[in-house]
C-alpha cells in the first residue's frame, strides 16, 4: 500500500487491461472504471497499481487476480499493488463507461451538488435507465454494492441502482 500521485499507463498494455471487467458490474472494464492508476513494464514485470472505489470493496482482490491471469495468458508476469491516494472519484469513470452503465440498467453518477439533492430527496433528477423518466424516488441510500443507492421509477415502476457520486 503506497501513495501515488499521477496516472501513468503504458499504451502497449491498454489492450489487455481493457478486456478485464469489474466483477460486480461486468459491462464495465477496469479502464473505464478508472481504477487503474499506473501500468508499466519494469525489468520484464508488468507493474500495475489499482485504487479501490470504496475501502472495503471486495472486487479489488478479484480484479488483482484477474489482472495477473490476463497477463499470464500473454506470457507476462504481473504484479499488482493497491494505492490509496489520490482517492478514487466517480469523475474517473470514462464517458464510454457511463454509457455502458446506463445500458446495463444502472443510472450514472450525477454531479456532486445534484447528487446531494437527489440523495436527500429534495429534487427528482435521477433518470430511470429503463424509460428515461426523472419521476424517480430513492428507496435506500445504500444499494447492492457499496458504490450504489437504490431508486425506483414512479412512471414505469422499475427499481434500479444509481451509482453514487464520490468526490
Amino acid at each position: 500500500m503506497t501513495v501515488e500521485l499521477e496516472q501513468h499507463i503504458d499504451p502497449n498494455l491498454i489492450s489487455v487491461l481493457e478486456k478485464i471487467s469489474d466483477p460486480e458490474i461486468p459491462v464495465l472494464s477496469i479502464m473505464d472504471m478508472g481504477v487503474v492508476r499506473s501500468a508499466q513494464v519494469i525489468d520484464d514485470v508488468v507493474q500495475i497499481k489499482i485504487t479501490p472505489t470504496y475501502s472495503g470493496c471486495p472486487a479489488m482482490d478479484v480484479i488483482g487476480e484477474d489482472i495477473i491471469a490476463a497477463f499470464q495468458e500473454k506470457n507476462m508476469k504481473a504484479k499488482v499493488d493497491l494505492v490509496l491516494s489520490p482517492a478514487w472519484t466517480t469523475d474517473w469513470i470514462t464517458s464510454r463507461g457511463r454509457k455502458a452503465l446506463e445500458e446495463y440498467g444502472i443510472a450514472a453518477p450525477l454531479e456532486e451538488e445534484a447528487d446531494k439533492e437527489a440523495l436527500l430527496g429534495n429534487k427528482k433528477i435521477v433518470k430511470c435507465p429503463q424509460c428515461a423518466s426523472t419521476n424517480t424516488k430513492m428507496i435506500s441510500q445504500f444499494g447492492s454494492t457499496a458504490c450504489k443507492a437504490m431508486f425506483q421509477c414512479e412512471d414505469c415502476l422499475e427499481p434500479f441502482d444509481y451509482f453514487k457520486c464520490l468526490k
Partner: protein
C-alpha cells in the same frame, strides 16, 4: 516518535472501525427491512475496509512479520484500544442507529483533521474514508430524525438509546499518551478540539428529532486504555473464533 507509538496510535483509530464494523456485521440478514439491512452491512464493509488499510500500514511499521490478520484476530482484549461506545451490543434498530450516529459525527470530524496528517499514508486513508463516512453520517442522522420524530414508540426507543449511550460520548475526546505524542509530532489529531463542534452537531440533530439531550455529567471511560465493558469478551470470541480454532486459516 517511535514506530511502536505510531502503531498504538493507529490501533486507537482502527480498532473503533473494526469493532463497530463487527457489530454491524452481526446484523447481516437480521436488519428490520431489506433496505436497512443492506445499508448497515454496506457501512460495515466500509469500516472493515478502512480497518484493513490501517492494519496493513501498522503491520508494515511493526517489522516483526505480523500481518493485518494477526492484528485483527490475535490480540487479547486489553490490547484493543477502541472506545466503549462502539462495542455496545445491538439491542434494537433505534439503538443501533443512535450508536452509529454518535460515532459517525465524531468519525467525520476526526478524519477531516487526520487528512492533514504529516504521515502520508494516514492522510491518504483519511481522505478515502471521509467520502464513505459522509454517507454514513447522512444515513444515521436521517434515521435519528425519522425515529425520534416518528411514532410514540419509535420516539421512546430512540430517547432511551440516547439516554443509555450518552455516557459513552465523552471518552471520544480523551487523549492517551500515544495520542499526545502523535499530535505533537504532526501525525495525529488533538481530539479535545473536536468536542465543541461534536456536541453542537449532535444537539442540532437531536433537537430536530424532538429528542431531549441528557443532562448527565457522569461519563464512562476505559476502552482507550484497553479496559473494556463486559460485552467486549463476547464480541471477540465471535470475531476471533476461526483464527483461534484453525490457526492461520485463509479463505
Amino acid at each position: 516518535m517511535k514506530n511502536e507509538n505510531i502503531i498504538q496510535y493507529i490501533y486507537g483509530i482502527a480498532d473503533n472501525a473494526l469493532i463497530l464494523g463487527q457489530r454491524l456485521s452481526e446484523l447481516c440478514g437480521h436488519g428490520p427491512s431489506l433496505e436497512t439491512d443492506i445499508a448497515l452491512t454496506n457501512m460495515a464493509l466500509d469500516l472493515l475496509g478502512q480497518t484493513r488499510s490501517y492494519y496493513q500500514y501498522a503491520a508494515q511499521l511493526s517489522e516483526d512479520g505480523k500481518t493485518e490478520d494477526d492484528i485483527a484476530f490475535l490480540r487479547i482484549e486489553r490490547q484493543y484500544k477502541n472506545v466503549l461506545l462502539v462495542e455496545q451490543p445491538n439491542r434494537h434498530f433505534g439503538y443501533v442507529i443512535t450508536r452509529q450516529f454518535f460515532y459517525d459525527v465524531f468519525h467525520l470530524l476526526l478524519l477531516q483533521e487526520l487528512q492533514n496528517s504529516k504521515d502520508e499514508t494516514l492522510s491518504a486513508i483519511a481522505k478515502k474514508a471521509i467520502k464513505e463516512v459522509s454517507y454514513h453520517q447522512r444515513f444515521s442522522s436521517d434515521w435519528v430524525k425519522r425515529l425520534g420524530d416518528g411514532t410514540e414508540e419509535s420516539h421512546q426507543k430512540v430517547q432511551d438509546a440516547v439516554d443509555g449511550l450518552w455516557g459513552f460520548t465523552d471518552e471520544l475526546f480523551h487523549m492517551t499518551e500515544d495520542d499526545t505524542l502523535a499530535f505533537e509530532s504532526g501525525i495525529g489529531v488533538d481530539v479535545t478540539k473536536l468536542k465543541e463542534t461534536y456536541y453542537k452537531r449532535v444537539s442540532e440533530v437531536l433537537e430536530e428529532a424532538t429528542l431531549t439531550i441528557p443532562e448527565t455529567k457522569w461519563f464512562q471511560k476505559g476502552g482507550k486504555q484497553g479496559i473494556h465493558s463486559e460485552h467486549m469478551g463476547y464480541l471477540l470470541s465471535d470475531l476471533q473464533y476461526m483464527q483461534r480454532t484453525y490457526p492461520n486459516m485463509k479463505w
